[in-house]
């Protein structure tokens, strides 16, 4: 079948909306009609080349849609099911899945090549294989994806809101709640308030943090952060350092969470300095793959027992936590409506990313037309 999709032909170019050929699903695969896709910074990393991907590739790894057809052997979903996609599949039987670390599933090996687990491609343009970001390609009207990327959700949830819990919300929320393990009474500093950082704010608040300090140069994002639970917001890392010193009487924060768009040496160092003894820096954001972004005093690390750690998908479990986020939304605890700042049509995708870079969006959402 044919589908319209936004693709990158190589790094450094803009998104192009083209018509692609889409193969039917093979074993353990499904055909999904995407209703909505989130504009996440990781796709921008593909465009700039920070993430080493195989081109051409269909963008988009935050998606929600409805299953239209299933291939042989599919048991997790059936046609008509409403699904939120997980940007990392979880097979349930690899070493990581079977030890409670589904965010590290081995099937994730090809998420940047964009092939399906059997190493072949379902998107084609003039006979050439086209990959799908995170094996999803949610910037396409339709896609064929692995059943292991699917998390079925209740059909009464609005998919254009639920789409956010495929990546940004659990990644941010989990960074604070699971990866960092924020405890009641902690002081938490969150660097960078985008689609991830804003949810780290929500998570830190849920975990009972006493002070949730949001750091972002854009005033609109600082206000959003306070709307969603930050107790303080400042424009720069230096202000955060001064504020935390004052708030904790010089002790320092328990946690720093780095969720900036492009992680560099400076922000990691600022985060390392803002935490006190026994504190933890959790790095969720991405930077250039080859770049050395963690450059710190190992002696301080030792003497103050500081910790620096990374986290993927907020160390959350896609199957469990995607649904949990939606349950929390239903109960009025996790805010999703406030996160969607703008919606776009597929043809407006470059505008959407420009708005993201201009700091206008907490989260932009692409609404597909069929």
């Amino acid at each position: 079948m044919k589908t319209k999709a936004a693709i990158l032909r190589s790094s450094g170019q803009d998104w192009q909306v083209v018509e692609l050929e889409l193969d039917p699903p093979k074993a353990n695969e499904v055909l999904i009609r995407f209703v909505a896709a989130g504009l996440c910074h990781s796709d921008e990393h593909l465009r700039t080349g920070d993430l080493p991907a195989r081109y051409p590739i269909v963008g988009g790894h935050e998606g929600a849609g409805i299953i239209e057809q299933v291939g042989p052997g599919v048991t997790r979903v059936k046609p008509g099911d409403h699904v939120v996609c997980s940007f990392i599949p979880s097979c349930g039987r690899c070493r990581w899945c079977s030890t409670g670390r589904q965010n590290l599933c081995d099937l994730g090996a090809t998420i940047l090549d964009g092939s399906l687990p059997d190493q072949t491609f379902r998107f084609h343009a003039d006979g050439e294989d086209v990959g799908a970001m995170c094996m999803l390609g949610t910037f396409s009207q339709w896609s064929v994806i692995s059943e292991y990327s699917c998390v079925p959700v209740d059909p009464d949830l609005p998919l254009e809101k639920a789409v956010l819990v495929g990546c940004g919300v659990p990644t941010g929320w989990g960074s604070a709640v699971y990866a960092a393990g924020v405890r009641p009474g902690d002081t938490v500093v969150i660097y960078g308030i985008g689609g991830i950082g804003i949810n780290a704010v929500q998570g830190a608040r849920h975990a009972g943090a006493k002070n949730v300090v949001a750091v972002d140069p854009v005033a609109f994002k600082r206000e959003k952060a306070e709307e969603l639970g930050a107790t303080h917001s400042v424009a720069s890392a230096q202000e955060a350092q001064d504020l935390v010193t004052q708030l904790t009487l010089g002790v320092g924060a328990e946690h720093a969470i780095v969720t900036v768009g492009v992680v560099g040496e400076e922000v990691v160092e600022a985060a390392f300095n803002v935490i006190g003894k026994g504190g933890t820096v959790t790095i969720t954001g991405l930077g250039g793959l080859a770049e050395k972004t963690v450059h710190l005093s190992g002696t301080i690390l030792t003497l103050f027992e500081k910790r620096v750690q990374g986290t993927l998908f907020g160390s959350a479990n896609p199957i469990y936590d995607i649904r949990k986020m939606l349950d929390l939304y239903r109960a009025g605890q996790v805010k999703l409506d406030e996160l969607v700042t703008n919606t776009y049509r597929l043809e407006q995708i470059n505008q959407g990313y420009q708005d993201l870079l201009d700091g206008k969006n907490i989260r932009g959402v692409l609404i597909h037309e069929h």
């Binding site: 239903r330 009025g332 805010k335």
Partner: protein, 580 residues
């Protein structure tokens, strides 16, 4: 700015709190520019006829409708002679009269039956003054008026400015002027005060302090003298926040004490730990926050066995099935409907709210109230409707019974519905409350005389007194409420009294839907001031709940009715509100 606006022929609204010199400014400007000025005091009795003019009934009866029988009103005079029409307190003017003004502003002419068209002579301009914070007896000014005028905001003067005004007004250089001005300014930022005092309060305090000092033979005014002067000058001028539960005397004394100690000249902190009265934007926010909590299909199915039948799929609501159910078991039916109106499924939620609006409004309908024309009875007031009088009496009215009046009296009864949304009010309770809101709103239709509040720890104003809303929108908002929280009955009753105080009515009546078991705040029996009659629809079945409800109702001579189901509530409210 005002000079330029007048020079260029713009219409102007001066907006600012009382005592900021709006009238003084306008008079001075008009005098300096040599423009004629027609003054009109805006109030609820300013009818179109009083603004335009009327035919002298005696002359009409004698000689018929002739030009000389017409007595010109201020608007016509200003139009004809190209003068400045100054309307004070514009927001107290009834809507019908505002409409006449809009025509004059928009068309530059007005048409008066049997007089003809009066065109505006060059130089005609409207200047209106209003106090945007005034909530007593005021109506909202429509966009249509705002669209045709320039708005000039007249805020309070700064401290040196106010000192200067006090000096000039009192004609003395009293040593108490700085304190008096400081007290007046402090009342405007005090957390318990809704509407602070203008500089007039400071002027009076200086006069009183000087006078008292002489009378008591003091060389320097004692603290007591200053306190007495401040109490007399300010307690009547400030309007307290209904939630504060304090008396004006306490607040003025607190301000004086703070000012006496220069180290603590920050505004005093609010000491009450109790809830707040939320109105306007904050009420909307409270509703939105509550509305976040929704019910999934699985939860709805678990709570109601009929759910699957009523909503077989996402976004579906079988209205005819629900209607059948409603005829068999109305209470269960509305209980489910209230829950469906809180569904996560946006389409189902929308349908359920629409259905609820329709059904509850239908159930609540008790016939629209007549408004408009009445025949004269002894002791009644209103404008004489010449046309109808002549028509009725075939040209020759013989006695007062033949005179037809156009009703301009204020509503006889102002009603405030007070809905308990604390933990005990789920499902059915909410549906009964929505029905009651519909009933009361319909009974008061068009008469600007009903308000609706919901409360638990805080009070949310769903409909403010004098600002009627569309009934289905109001019902929808009641269904957006989520039960939960403590029950501060005293706060709710005080808030109701404050709403009722805004209405110009002979009887101020409140209807409370509650189990009457207060779990927060003070004694509700002590909070009945300002409510002439409180009717209670009791939702609790326990003896304690019934006893408390009866006690509350009995204290004001109101009735206690058991709200056991929707039909009963509709009937009970019908008895309380049926016209005639």
């Amino acid at each position: 700015m005002l000079c330029v606006a007048l020079e260029t022929g713009r219409h102007v609204v001066l907006e600012g709190p009382p005592g900021t010199g709006k009238s003084t400014l306008l008079r001075a400007t008009a005098r300096a520019a040599g423009i004629g000025l027609v003054f009109v005091e805006g109030n609820a009795e300013l009818t179109p006829a009083r603004l335009l003019g009327h035919h002298d009934p005696a002359l009409v009866l004698q000689a018929g409708y002739r030009p000389e029988a017409f007595v010109e009103g201020p608007l016509l005079r200003a139009l004809r002679e190209g003068m400045l029409l100054y309307v004070e307190e514009l927001n107290r003017v009834p809507e019908e009269t505002l409409n006449v003004l809009i025509t004059a502003l928009a068309e530059g002419e007005v048409v008066v039956p049997r007089v003809g068209t009066v065109r505006a002579a060059p130089g005609f301009r409207l200047v209106a003054a209003m106090n945007p914070f005034d909530a007593v007896g005021t109506a909202r000014i429509g966009q249509a008026v705002y669209d045709r005028v320039c708005r000039i905001s007249v805020p309070y003067q700064d401290e040196p400015g106010e000192l200067e005004i006090v000096r000039r007004a009192t004609g003395t250089d009293s040593p108490h002027a700085p304190l008096a001005v400081a007290v007046a300014r402090a009342t405007r930022s005090h957390p318990d005060v809704r509407m602070g005092a203008s500089v007039r309060g400071a002027i009076d305090m200086v006069h009183l302090a000087e006078g008292l000092k002489r009378l008591r033979g003091e060389a320097r005014a004692s603290a007591e003298t200053l306190r007495d002067a401040a109490l007399a000058a300010f307690t009547g001028r400030i309007r307290l926040d209904e939630a504060s539960g304090r008396r004006p005397e306490e607040v003025v004394i607190e301000i004086l004490e703070h000012l006496g100690d220069p180290a603590s000249r920050d505004p005093p902190r609010q000491t009450m730990a109790s809830g707040r009265v939320l109105e306007g934007c904050s009420a909307a926010r409270a509703l939105r926050e509550g509305e976040r909590r929704t019910l999934g299909r699985a939860q709805l199915a678990a709570a109601h066995p009929e759910f699957v039948h009523l909503s077989p799929g996402v976004g579906q609501l079988r209205e005819e099935a629900w209607e059948r159910f409603w005829h068999q078991q109305p209470d269960r039916a509305v209980e489910i409907l209230a829950d469906l109106a809180a569904a996560t499924d946006p389409e189902l939620r929308r349908r359920a709210r629409r259905l609820a609006g329709r059904v509850l409004v239908r159930a609540a309908s008790c016939g629209p109230r007549q408004r408009g024309y009445r025949r004269l009875a002894a002791g009644e007031e209103g404008d004489l409707d010449l046309e109808r009088t002549l028509e009725r009496a075939q040209g020759r009215p013989r006695g007062p019974e033949d005179l037809v009046l156009r009703g301009w009296r204020s509503a006889e009864r102002a009603t405030c519905l007070v809905i308990d949304q604390s933990g005990s009010m789920r499902g059915r309770g909410l549906a009964m409350a929505a029905l009651a809101a519909a009933s009361i709103s319909l009974a008061a239709a068009g008469r600007l005389a009903c308000s609706v509040l919901a409360f638990s720890r805080n009070v949310v104003v769903l409909q403010a007194q004098g600002q009627p809303r569309e009934v289905t929108a109001l019902v929808g908002d009641v269904l957006r409420l989520r039960a939960g929280g403590t029950t501060d009955l005293a706060l709710a009753l005080r808030a109701a009294a404050a709403q009722l105080a805004r209405a110009d009515a002979a009887e101020r009546c409140a209807v409370l839907i509650s189990d009457c078991l207060a779990t927060a705040g003070g004694d509700p029996l002590a909070a009945l001031g300002g409510i002439d009659r409180l009717h209670v629809l009791g939702t609790g079945a326990e003896p304690e709940s019934v006893r408390r409800g009866r006690e509350l109702a009995a204290r004001t001579g109101g009735r206690y009715l058991e709200a056991t189901g929707v039909r009963e509530v509709a009937a009970a409210l019908g008895r309380l509100f049926r016209p005639g």
